[in-house]
Symmetry: C2
Subunit: 338 residues, 2 copies
DNA sequence: AGCTTTCATGGAACCGGTTCCATGCTGGCC
DNA sequence: GGCCAGCATGGAACCGGTTCCATGAAAGCT
């Protein structure tokens, strides 16, 4: 509708002056600035970001790649990213790229290649060297959330340490017969979270002098996934462990429900610990190792904005802390025979 | 990096010809087209959408407003929107606007007002007449999902009918003492889903000659919300109904867990029905009235694309069907005394 | 007083595409 | 053979901003 030329005409100044007045860059007298702003308001002028980005190269828009939207961790990260970006004046364009998505190449080569974004945030999608190079050639900063990407600042938790901590909690309560239920390597998400959590579990067990053979069971990373696995695993009393370390809270919820259904009391007969800090954990009284996805999202935005400002790429990766929240899904194992 | 002028030079043609060859509009000989395409590929040319939209007015990008990301219904709609838009070659820019968000005005007046979107999809956010006018003045088509917006094509289910159907299912099993647990009007989402589902419930009850006074209890629209309400409601055996109609599956899950915890057998002593068709319903064996959020998202995109193509605004609102999925959380009430 | 900064503003080029218009060529038709 | 339609292409204007450069006035310095 109305262009900056109209504003300039109405205010009786040149386009250049109007542009300076509205953007705040360059010299403009207070008087002129007020006149221009008044004129802009009068005709309801809104700047076209397209025209501006054409010449500045800045789009005030960030692309976000994420494999899931409805899983808790990703939903939380997404909400915090959106909020933080909006606050900084950036639009967020979303690409949902499930593992092994056929759209993946198209998104990278077509959608992300266009100069539409000032930067890109990849949540839980590990990028190949080729993809990183591709994006770097565009000169756009890149920030990862959820795991390391070669040469790219990322925000993550230490999955190995978190898993070890969770396992050590069970060990410290006196459990010896512990099982880990986590994601399979086959449908591993990009960032090795599954195998890292498994490694942390094994490290803790081995350090306690325990064997880890036969102590891992895979499950889908959801509540029904944990439930299914729980029914199968806990159904046979002779093979039943005294404690389970679940790779996610949602799996843990499913396990707890399966235990209840089988008449196994938690924590008396079975302790369960998860990783996440899911808001439903309170309701299930689940002991969990909380990570803080919203903090990860906010930090990712801060990191990206800093890269954008400095153009120096000094960005370091950051490992955020986790916190053990003890509720009543874990306790010392029942003494045999009681 | 490389502009269309470079492609044209390399191919030995004019910019205009290169543009026609790459966009497929206007006359170009097959020979020339191949030459241009080869040149473009050689230097890795990717068109700048900014430059193109500056002159065409088309941005190939759609803005989506949504109040929640992590609630099931919204997550599903979002995923289907993203997928369908990508397929049509559109980017999706996301604005997360919780009820009573302080950012709301800013999003409408600043972010959406810029000519950055070809169209806007509003999911579960009812727009005021003023906001609709504001967006219409931009000449951008608008599609709603989840409830009617004046003068705007929307995709929705009939919440009143769905609630009535769910209630009638309980009535047909022989229940007379039925309670509705739903969202409160106070934190009503924009589209009157809460009050519509309550109205449908009341209509069914009244049609069966039953009183509705004292038959409604509010809960947060989440599993813990249903759980809390369930503990309070079912704790007193004398006030306990024989069946509950929950306004969402997540509330229903919470109710079922509360019942289990109180030793109330479902469905023998208590029938529960929900609305949604949540994937976890299978695990809880929940009878539910399924709506199909992905279908709603896909249809919203089809509607928007049609509006975009015709510019005629013929778009009609569509009411999508729901389907009753009977599982084993509902049965005839136990005969008194057994 | 004369010279250099600093401030304020306007004119024009430019970002990278699309599209209008003009031109020239070829071929079908009467 | 002459005319018109259809095809193919190039030149130039244009979309709506930003920014470089030039100009000039006011203020600071010696």
């Amino acid at each position: 509708m109305s262009a900056i030329a109209d504003v300039a005409r109405l205010a009786g100044v040149a386009k250049a002056t109007a542009s300076r007045a509205l953007s705040g860059r360059g010299y403009v007298s207070t008087e002129t600035r007020d006149k221009v702003i008044a004129a802009a308001r009068e005709i309801g002028y809104v700047a076209s970001p397209n025209a501006a980005s054409l010449v500045t190269g800045r789009t005030q828009s960030v692309g976000v790649i994420i494999p899931f939207i409805s899983r808790w961790f990703f939903g939380e990260v997404l909400e915090s990213l959106e909020f933080a970006l909006l606050e900084q004046g950036y639009d967020m364009t979303l690409y949902n790229l499930p593992p092994a998505s056929p759209e993946r190449d198209r998104v990278f080569e077509f959608f992300l290649a266009r100069k539409r974004f000032d930067g890109i945030i990849s949540v839980g999608v590990a990028l190949s060297e080729q993809e990183v190079d591709h994006l770097h050639r565009l000169g756009r900063p890149l920030v990862g959330v959820g795991g390391p990407i070669r040469g790219v600042p990322t925000i993550e938790i230490d999955d190995v340490a978190a898993a070890r901590l969770a396992t050590e909690h069970l060990l410290s309560l006196g459990h010896r017969d512990i099982v880990h239920v986590g994601g399979s390597q086959v449908d591993e998400m990009d960032f090795h979270v599954h195998s890292n959590r498994l490694r942390g579990f094994q490290a803790a067990m081995l350090a306690a002098g325990l064997s880890v053979s036969g102590c891992f069971y895979s499950a889908e990373f959801t509540m029904p996934g944990g439930y299914e696995r729980g029914l199968a695993l806990l159904g046979d009393p002779r093979r039943r462990p005294t404690a389970i370390f679940a790779a996610s809270d949602e799996i843990a919820f499913g396990l707890i429900l399966a235990a209840r259904e089988l008449g196994i009391r938690v924590p008396t007969e079975l302790s369960v610990i998860g990783i996440d800090g899911h808001p439903h954990a309170e309701m299930f009284r689940l002991t969990t190792l909380a990570q803080h996805p919203r903090a990860q999202g906010e930090l990712a935005v801060r990191t990206l904005v800093a890269e954008l400002a400095s153009r120096s790429g000094t960005g370091e990766s950051t490992v955020l802390p986790t916190s053990l929240i003890i509720r009543s899904s874990t306790s010392a194992p029942r003494v045999r025979g009681t």
